[in-house]
Amino acid sequence: MDKCIACGECTKKCPGKTDDEYNEGLDKRKAIYVAYPQAVPLKYAIDPAVCVKLLKDKCGTCAKVCPTGAINYEDKEEILTLNVGSVIMAAGFKPFDPSKLDNLQYAKFPNVVTSIEFERILSAGGPSHGHIECYPDKAEPKKIAWLQCVGSRDQNKCGNSYCSSVCCMYAVKEAMMAKDHISGEFEASIFLMDMRTYGKDFEKYYERAKDQGVRFVRSRIHTITQDENHKLIATYVSEDGKNITEVFDMVVLSVGMETPADLAAVVRNMGIELNANNFVVTDSFSPVETSRKGFYVCGALQEPKDIPMAVMEASAAACDAGTSLSPARGTLTRTRTYPAETDIMGQDPRIGVFVCNCGTNIGGIVNVPEVAAYARTLPHVAFVEENMFTCSQDTQDKMKQVIEKNGLNRIVVAACTPRTHEPLFQETLKDAGLNKYLIEMANIRNQCSWVHSKEPELATAKAKDLVRIAVAKVSLMRALPQPTVGIVQKGLVIGGGVAGMTSALGLAKQGFFTTLVEKEAVLGGNALHLNQTWKGEPIAENVAKLVKDVRENALIQVFTGATVKDTAGFIGNFKTTLSVNGKDQTIDHGAVIIATGAKERKPTEYLYGEDERVLTHLELDQRMAKDSSFLKTMNAAVFIQCVGSREPERPYCSKVCCTHSVKSALKFKEVNPDLDVYVLYRDIRTYGQREEKYKEARDKGVIFVRYDLDHKPLVQKEGSSLSVTVRDHVLGMNLGLEPDLIVLASAIVPEDNAALAQMFKLSLNDDRFFMEAHAKLRPVDFATDGIFLAGMAHYPKPVEESIAQAKAAASRATVVLSKETVTVDGVVSQVNEALCRGCGACEEACAFGAITVRVREDDVKIASVQQALCKGCAACSVACPTGAAGVFHYNNEVLTMIETALES
């Protein structure tokens, strides 16, 4: 595998063909193949079920054409025995196979596809290169229907009673993308039961889709047939009870997630408990721990979930797994040593150019000897060599000798892409005693020979240009320092709720001293007012245990009645001043976790505050915690959902309220089975396995009545009794209720985070929740290094998700705190103080909090860069009106590249 350079010669000549699994079998791949173009590592593999050599000992073409001798037919599956202290289960899910649902005709009609197939169809790397095509004439569809809940929320047809959590959002996304891909008239319709866009910023996307004309139909298509032109005829019952037949060009089935049976068997065999849905059983207070000690779980094997949640759980599992391993941290590592760096200051550039053939990948198209000869004519070039493979180990050894022997002080490698290979050559430079930033690559493979294979002469001319540009740039490049900065191996956690306490424990259990700051007098936050999780675990007991663990941990210092007053510093070196009961206290720390939570909004509607029978969720929980017998004398209770959420003023879903109301309604029925319980809702968003509670509530007689934003329920007081009027969407009539109790599912609103955001230079989103570095892939990081996010300060979420995110934040902070020093990258910004006039434009432009305008001793305002935080994006240099700010190697060097590129 080490020898494979992913040139693709093998696959080009391979005669064996089979269905391409990555493209869902919509097109073909060869017997020797790379699983998908972005695969890491990018290496080809042989499919033994298709390969003629392995099946019949014939062919062998790939071994003949492989330029590096990487093909090994003798490679066999090996059984490896590993000695490990923790195991993380992240085996994922399988999309539901709709073939068995004969009413949807997936197996029979080619224009009925699954959502995963549609993803591939939309992809530029997919079977039709991103063009959406219909069977049989490859015409662009003008009308597509998405059918939600295929293989989810369906006990009868498939046995999956749970909600798959992600399909609503991906269907909206696919519909929006299809609108982009299809020119002219196009109608996208989504057939759904409830629209579950409960994630951060999802609701806004749903609203945007509605504005852009995506049609949302509340119905399930029950039958699909086909007409003589292969159009699909869908039959469904509209909301007002009419039987409707509609014709579509294509139908996309929004298939759910399930654990494949063979995986479930493996997991069970390992002694890990799965529930009836074949998901790993976990506790809300230890959301990534399985029933077997030392085994942790993350992702959809635990329950269907989206990417951000899976990523959070992955880091949480790393935190838990790391806790038990922390005594062994670093015991198996070795440090590599390099020779002392040669000082090239004052030397004229002596450039070595290495031109790679990459077997025939470059050399087969580009005339490499001609490029090499041309390189010899360029200024400052002292040495030129052609290589068969510049990246091979023997070339590295040779390159090192050549650098030393010829006194080279700058290197150009004309080969593949710096994105994959620059680090390799930088290592070689370091081995040769050169600063690692003295290399520039000319990408004459990925961006030349591979994309101009029909025009060898023009490709050669382009390769020469690319080498000339690289030589011009490297001539200007200099040795860049990579200073190391010491790290204060201590953590600070702001917020003493469930998330904050969990984060503090996560850090302390890995051996890091942590300060926990809580503004109230007691630890616990919102959880102190909640009774039970949706699974029925008692919250008070668990929170009390958490508080006790925190208080008893010698590595956690707790300040209550404390707020953050000021902070300075950067990753590894923060100095934060706290105000503890009015007195200042300064602490040093290397990382920060922000877990400042959120709060329940006090409603202004539905007679709240005017009648004591109108309560919020938290108030209800507190009352029930004391004594729930008050319910026994009641006749009717009404829950009203989305009170202040999903409205123009607060256009987000508060995520937890549907489940909370359903759970409370069940409790009502348990205490008083004769009580009439109504839930007035817009969409019931009991995602994942919470759906089973929703079903149980319906089975137990809780009545769910849907309303829409234009017809909100009317709550009035008539004499001493309360009346609720709501329009029933099934009957099309007003329903009058006279409840003894009204529970408002009031929105969750953020704390006032503005001051904290400003102090730590963090962003808030439009709804005033903290904004993470990347919504999907970095859900607990901030763009500024060393600062992390957990709990409801990020977005409303239930306790198990807050805990997972808190553990994730602790894990991410551990990455910083476990090192004694941090190395600063060389390609960073610097400000020329002589040109800076302190306007602050750079500070405003910097997304990473790396530039601050400060007042120098002589009272002059100057911008200064904290290079440990700088990512080298150069946004500062664009914003700078005087040319004072600039990034090393991306300043005048770029202008020179432009000039050189255009001088031919």
């Binding site: 990925n446 591979w450 994309v451 994006c873 946004a875 991306y890």
Partner: protein, 67 residues
């Protein structure tokens, strides 16, 4: 525009997305005309308007900023 017009195009591509996409185009063997030169930058936000003006001044027929 005449048929044999062969414009010189200069592209500024962000290292983290478009430059990677150009690499992927290579891996996928997508073919495109060889009259474009790509300059890698660390962020499209770091492309100074001067760079674009300089490109036109030096005779570029088109500039593509991608990030």
């Amino acid at each position: 525009m005449s048929q044999d017009f062969n414009p010189q195009i200069l592209t500024f591509a962000c290292n983290w997305c478009s430059y990677a996409a150009a690499d992927l185009a290579g891996v996928s063997r997508f073919q495109y005309p060889p009259n474009m030169r790509i300059i890698r930058v660390m962020c499209s936000g770091g492309i100074n308007p001067n760079y674009i003006l300089k490109a036109f001044e030096k005779g570029a027929d088109g500039v593509l900023v991608s990030g």
